[in-house]
Amino acid sequence: MIAQAGTAPAPNAFWRRALRHRSFVVGALLCLLVLGAALLSLVWTPWSAYEIDVASKLRPPSSAHWLGTDVLGRDIVSLLLVGARATILVGIIAVGIGLTCGVCLGLIAAAQRGWTEEVIMRFSDFTFAFPAVLSAIMLAAVIGPGMVTSITAIGIFQIPVFVRVTRGSAGAIWAREFILAARAAGKGRVRITIEHVLPNILSILIVQATIQFALAILAEAALSYLGLGTQPPQPSWGRMLNDAQTLLFQSPSLAVYPGAAIALAVLGLNLLGDGLRDLLDPRLARQR
């Protein structure tokens, strides 16, 4: 509202610190790699990811097909590039659902206490008790399998995680004396939540979101692998694993590529989350 200049960890200082933080840099690079792959696939792929060419199936890596072809003769590199789209889309939307609903509910629970809090927390316990895969199977039975099903199922699964994290950290902020000062100044619960509580728990939420993003990628892969997520011919890393399973002994490399892609994306997000946790901690920022 008033002057934003001279921010405690000034923007420049933040980036200088960030670039020195090894796990943040590695994590950010891996995430950018996945993001870049998804963006690249929109404009260019070496081969079409949808074209079936059975004559050239299960080719080993060559100069034409850098990582070879799968059982239907599709180029693996192209599949990986296009598959990154599904991964990112599901991750962003599912985490978005979980973050928005979860943070709102968590903030309400922390601000209202009493019965409201009790209802919200028991409700999130109830949701938490269902594994994402189980709710995806239930949803698939109702609306049929597909990307929407997996996004919804993963999104719902994310809500209680964010509710708990938000409620816990917001509750700690509500107990601080500056909240009492804000109340003494005449601010209501809504204003205190927006102006004091949310900014103070934002870094925790950002870190949690990156970790949840990694979990969403794993869940998406698992659901696609089970045939509940992305449907053919739309490629996704989970589907590629599923296809590779039947040929695990003839050409194990088919499973290695999407597996490595998932592992790198998850590793990248976890490293990024670790890095952000360190960088956004005001106590660490203060030292420099």
Binding site: A3, G6, A8, F178, A182, R183, A185, P199, P282
Partner: protein, 350 residues
């Protein structure tokens, strides 16, 4: 003299009437009803404009509860708080919000009472922006002028709290309390988290501001020296009641309640070669039930059967001095604790 001025001359700035605050304890058993703590047990006091009241007592005596009720941050179980004749707990929420300009609070912990994510400008302007939306320039001018009044520089306006020392942070907190030009500032242990040298600076500042703006303080402290330095009147609290009140020179020179005497005796004094005896630890009496007799009787060296049966009421001993003790006269007759008669606990030119 206009009627309004006459009114303000006779109506106390702050009047607390028979304030009772109960807190329900968490249920221990499903069958028994949950226990209660009586944090305040019928506290009455009044404060004229420009005067300052100190409230002393040990931990758990209800000092901070009283502060929160005066600030209308909680609803009392019964009793009323009147600010310039208006009952804070009966007015509408909107009216209360506007009335809040008249009384502000300074908190104990200068590290916890300032939002670490906001600039000094936002923190200090908070009591103003909470009510209306003044334009940025006027706001900055007002913040800058109030920062100068508490001895900070204009350049500090865009800094964050962690860039300041404890004493400076408390000055920021005082600036926040001052910006609405209140008549009353409730200060809950304003200096107890600070170094002794910084304490003196902050106390001096508070005194200067009082002279400058005709402020009233309700100063809550466990430090008798702080209260002695800043207050015109002192109330001693024990287990949710006021057990003695009077001017600091009366109270500290010739206390009339054995609890006040125990508090004075507990003040550590640097004295070469002095041997301090250790007091035996006494069980702190519970506030949860209303037992008969004087609440202090279990700890009191003078208590007799009468004390254990009949609770003493606060009674006037002299014009400015009252105590809730059956044996007030004999307590006053006890030899003074220090060899010299009442010495200021803090020497004035700090």
């Amino acid at each position: 003299m206009s009627t309004a001025a006459k009114m303000s001359a006779t109506t106390p700035l702050l009047e607390v009437r028979d304030l009772v605050q109960r807190y329900t304890l968490p249920r221990e058993s499903l069958l028994r009803s949950p226990g209660e703590v009586l944090a305040l047990n019928g506290v009455s006091l009044s404060l004229m404009a420009g005067q300052s009241l100190g409230i002393v007592g040990e931990s758990g005596s209800g000092k901070s509860t009283l502060a929160r009720l005066i600030m209308a941050l909680e609803k009392p179980s019964s009793g009323s708080v009147l600010m310039a004749g208006r009952d804070l707990h009966c007015v509408s929420a909107d009216e209360l919000r506007r009335a809040r300009r008249e009384f502000q609070m300074v908190f104990q912990d200068p590290y916890g009472s300032l939002d670490p994510r906001q600039t000094v400008a936002r923190i200090v302007a908070e009591p103003l922006t909470a009510l209306e939306n003044p334009d940025r320039e006027t706001l900055r001018v007002r913040v800058a002028s109030v920062l100068r009044q508490v001895g900070l520089r204009d350049a500090d306006i865009d800094k964050y709290p962690h860039e300041f020392s404890g004493g400076q942070r408390q000055r920021i907190a005082i600036a926040r309390a001052l910006i609405t030009q209140p008549k009353l500032i409730v200060a809950d242990e304003p200096v107890s988290a600070l170094d002794v040298s910084v304490q003196a600076q902050v106390l001096n500042l508070m005194q200067d501001l009082q002279e400058q703006f005709g402020l009233s303080y309700v100063l809550i402290s466990h430090d008798l020296a702080v209260v002695d330095y800043l207050c015109d009147e002192v109330a001693v609290m024990y287990l949710g009641r006021i057990v003695e009140r009077g001017r600091p020179e009366d109270l500290f020179g010739q206390c009339a309640h054995p609890y006040t005497r125990a508090l004075l005796d507990a003040v550590p004094q640097a004295q070469a070669g002095a041997v301090r005896r250790r007091r035996q630890s006494v069980a702190i009496a519970s506030q949860s039930f209303g037992s008969a007799g004087c609440a202090y009787a279990p700890r009191c060296p003078l208590a007799d059967a009468h004390c254990r049966e009949v609770a003493p009421a606060l009674r006037a001993l002299t014009a400015h001095h009252s105590a809730a003790c059956h044996k007030a006269e004999s307590v006053m007759a006890l030899p003074p604790l220090v060899s010299e008669p009442h010495q200021p606990l803090v020497s004035k030119p700090l």
